[in-house]
């Protein structure tokens, strides 16, 4: 019986130790949260940083841009993250939330750009679309083709139905599922970009923002738009096999498969690193991360991580992030950003 009692006692003791011992407030690992689009770049930097320095490898959680900024702005203290990644700029409201919670010094680092392409097989002819045509082809409800100011379920089945200059082929587009950041960006930039060309829809935005969003952001569900999984290889294989299908994905992926697929021109612009970097290509966005200045010096290694991320070897024209698909900023912007990051220049809020 004694055995049983000691067993009980030791298990109970272990339990209470585990439960009671106060959480170690000092933390030596950098905590990073945020966008799933920036995640592939940030993880590569973090892994290299951990391997090439004496600091532990930073921990990364992929929470989405909004989720990351919410966690980031909750306060100062080691239970809160040090850095958050974002595939869009911090919003004024988020910045104010941060300020209200005492997160005052925030350094913004713009790491590069990301373009979203609509591509098809090299065996098919290259498409030249406008954002309006993209919207008409893929939206759930579109303005009545007879020109009246009302919405009808998307009637277009062939590209030539939308515009006679487009090929006489079935509309068939494969794209990312709603869980993907690429989908969010595509919907926000390309679909909304085409949608607001209609003045009467743009006017709805002022009256009823959520109705405007549901008009512009809803993808059609009647077949021509197919949600593929997040497996890029699957999309490329489909595009290679079926030359009438188009696919939507990040520019980095087009680059890796340039032998088999080609990007469509949008508004007459072909996606290249140059057109994406200077925002000439319309479906492009910048990627950022934000640093909590109050944590620099408290959690070791933040400045060194910044230095690694902003080094030419990482985000430069021939850096290792380019191999993963980042589109670098022009060298002048990089130099300025790297300098601002080094000096931890805080956002004032007026630039947002």
């Amino acid at each position: 019986m004694i055995k049983l009692k000691t067993a009980f006692a030791s298990v109970a003791l272990a339990g209470s130790i585990a439960a009671v011992s106060a959480p170690a407030m000092a933390r030596d690992t950098i905590n990073i949260v945020g966008s799933s689009t920036v995640y592939p770049f940030a993880t590569v930097v973090a892994e290299r940083f951990g391997r090439n320095t004496d600091f532990p490898t930073p921990k990364l959680e992929s929470t989405g841009s909004g989720g990351g900024l919410k966690l980031f702005c909750e306060g100062v203290g080691t239970q809160h993250p040090d850095i958050t990644n974002a595939s869009r700029r911090i919003k004024k409201s988020e910045f104010e939330q941060c300020q209200a919670n005492g997160v005052e010094g925030i350094t913004e680092v713009k790491i590069g750009a990301d373009g979203i392409v609509i591509a098809n097989s090299k065996d098919a002819e290259q498409m030249n679309l406008t954002l309006e045509q993209v919207f008409l082809a893929l939206a759930k409800e579109v303005p009545n083709p007879d020109g009246s100011e009302e919405l009808v379920a998307n009637p277009y089945q062939k590209w030539s139905d939308i515009d006679s200059s487009l090929p006489n082929k079935e509309i068939s587009v494969m794209g990312p599922p709603p869980t993907s950041g690429t989908r969010d960006a595509f919907v926000e930039i390309a679909m909304e970009g085409g949608c607001k060309q209609y003045d009467w829809i743009a006017a709805i935005k002022k009256q009823d923002k959520s109705q405007y969003k549901s008009i512009c952001h809803s993808m059609r569900e009647d077949g021509p738009f197919v949600e593929a999984g997040e497996n890029d290889n699957l999309i490329v294989q489909r595009l290679a096999q079926d030359k009438d299908t188009l696919g939507i994905f990040g520019y980095s992926f087009l680059m890796e498969n340039a032998g088999q697929i080609q990007a469509s021109m949008i508004n007459g612009v072909e996606p290249t690193p140059d057109t994406i970097a200077d925002e000439e290509y319309p479906v492009a966005r910048s990627l950022f991360f934000y640093v909590k200045n109050a944590h620099v010096g408290v959690v070791p290694g933040i400045q060194e991580y910044l230095a690694e991320f902003t080094s030419e070897g990482a985000w430069g024209d021939n850096g290792y992030l380019v191999d993963v698909g980042l589109i670098p900023n022009p060298r002048g912007v990089r130099m300025k950003t790297a300098n601002a990051a080094k000096n931890l220049k805080p956002l004032t809020g007026s630039e947002l």
Binding site: G15, P23, Y320
Partner: protein, 425 residues
């Protein structure tokens, strides 16, 4: 008389039909078992078919000349020089020994992409540890780049070669023939944490993380669960309050696990200020989730102890506590242990509640304690399965096989304990 005969006649007539009915009934059962076994077989065949290559690594063995000029490095003990040195150059030079025709920047870049990204730091680590090796030639084994690795492992499937240029494929084929590129057992999988490069990614970090998490879960849920079960079964008065508690425990067992994650986020992280992503919080959340299972199975085990044992003990003058601790609990222990192990096996496979407390994260370093950032086995599988690199597909399946091995051994332990300790009356 005639009545009886006709009745026997009736029975005889229907007999055939009844036998047929029974045969059909048995056939349904066999079909059901067959369907279950077939789906299990398909699942295993798929996982093993995809995952077996995950246990193989591809290496490139090269004679590397650690020349101080190509690396821009005179003194490996100087930190500044180490930081500025070029450790990729000697690898490319060693590869060029095999392919003297590969000249020019683009060709060199393609050559350099045959080895994994850890190759350069392997050379740096070697030189930092042994500065004397500068300007010598060393035979070193590097992990091949992911694209090379999947190409070698799936030579018969063209979809695995789309990321290698034709030139690179020709190089790899030649190196394979020479024996420079080779495959062997993937020890990296069991000795490292996660990585963005499939070749360098290991599952050890997740195994250790699972271990720490499970220890916390066990240390809390086992004593609390058993104490609650003993009290409710042996000491608690039968009234409205205990009925209410009982109903709630049964309800808790059916609560979706994500709810426990929300609770953990609000209480342990929000209220107590515990850090995110640590095994302690994960263990606490999973302990809450496992508690109802343990309480219910422990109560069933206590109930199944025959009343004669209690009566006999009371009959010779044992106190209530003596009856419980000396007789009932030891006899119910096998059932309690089985329930706990099954509860733990369930917790081991859980990901949903861990998502909310930050244990779904990219963590490279193997955790070294209850308060260091960690992830667990099923989360690691999820992270790999959602990565786009081809090499992660096989790693995810290999991870599933490791997780299944843990599950099967835990269940085997439960069966063994029951067989060994169980008493029959």
């Amino acid at each position: 008389m005639t009545d009886q005969r006709s009745q026997a006649e009736l029975v005889r007539q229907s007999l055939k039909r009844r036998y047929r009915k029974e045969r059909r009934f048995r056939l349904y059962g066999i079909v059901a078992i067959f369907i279950a076994l077939a789906s299990l077989f398909i699942l295993f065949a798929d996982i093993i078919g995809k995952g077996h290559t995950g246990f193989v690594k591809t290496t490139i063995t090269l004679d590397v000349t650690l020349d101080s000029e190509t690396m821009y490095l005179d003194d490996p003990t100087d930190k500044d020089q180490i930081a500025m040195a070029d450790f990729v150059a000697p690898i490319i030079a060693a590869l060029q020994d095999h392919f003297p025709n590969a000249e020019g920047r683009a060709a060199k870049r393609e050559l350099g992409r045959l080895v994994g990204s850890y190759a350069a730091s392997d050379i740096r680590d070697l030189l930092e540890a042994n500065p004397d090796l500068l300007n010598t030639t060393q035979t070193m084994e590097f992990l091949a780049h992911d694209t090379v690795s999947v190409y070698v492992k799936h030579a018969d499937d063209p979809s695995y070669s789309i990321r290698l240029s034709e030139q690179q494929q020709a190089w790899v084929d030649e190196l394979l023939e020479k024996g420079v590129v080779d495959t062997s057992f993937n020890d990296v999988l069991f000795s490292r944490g996660d990585s963005r490069e499939p070749g360098n990614a290991g599952i050890l970090g997740a195994i250790v993380g699972s271990l720490f998490t499970m220890l916390v879960t066990l240390a809390i849920s086992f004593p609390v669960g058993i104490a609650a079960a003993i009290y409710l079964e042996e000491f608690a008065p039968q009234n409205r309050l205990t009925d209410f508690i009982e109903v709630n425990i049964n309800n808790l067992a059916a609560v979706p696990s994500i709810i426990f994650g929300l609770l953990g986020l609000a209480v342990f992280i929000g209220l107590f200020g515990m850090p995110r992503s640590v095994p302690v919080v994960g263990g606490l959340v999973l302990a809450l989730m496992t508690l109802p299972t343990i309480i219910i199975s422990s109560r069933a085990a206590i109930k199944s102890v025959p009343p004669s044992i209690r009566e006999a003990a009371e009959g010779i003058g044992a106190s209530k506590m003596q009856v419980v601790l000396h007789h009932v609990v030891p006899l119910a222990m096998p059932g309690m242990l089985t329930g706990s192990i099954i509860g733990m096996a369930q917790a081991l496979g859980e990901t949903a509640p861990l998502l909310l407390i930050g244990m779904v994260a990219f963590i490279v370093d193997v955790p070294d304690g209850f308060f260091s950032s960690a992830t667990v086995l099923p989360v690691q599988i999820y992270l790999w399965a959602s990565s786009s690199e081809q090499g992660f597909v096989e790693l995810a399946s290999a991870g599933i096989m490791v997780l299944l091995a843990f599950m099967i051994s835990m269940n085997a332990l439960a069966i063994w304990l029951r067989k060994r300790l169980e008493r029959r009356w």
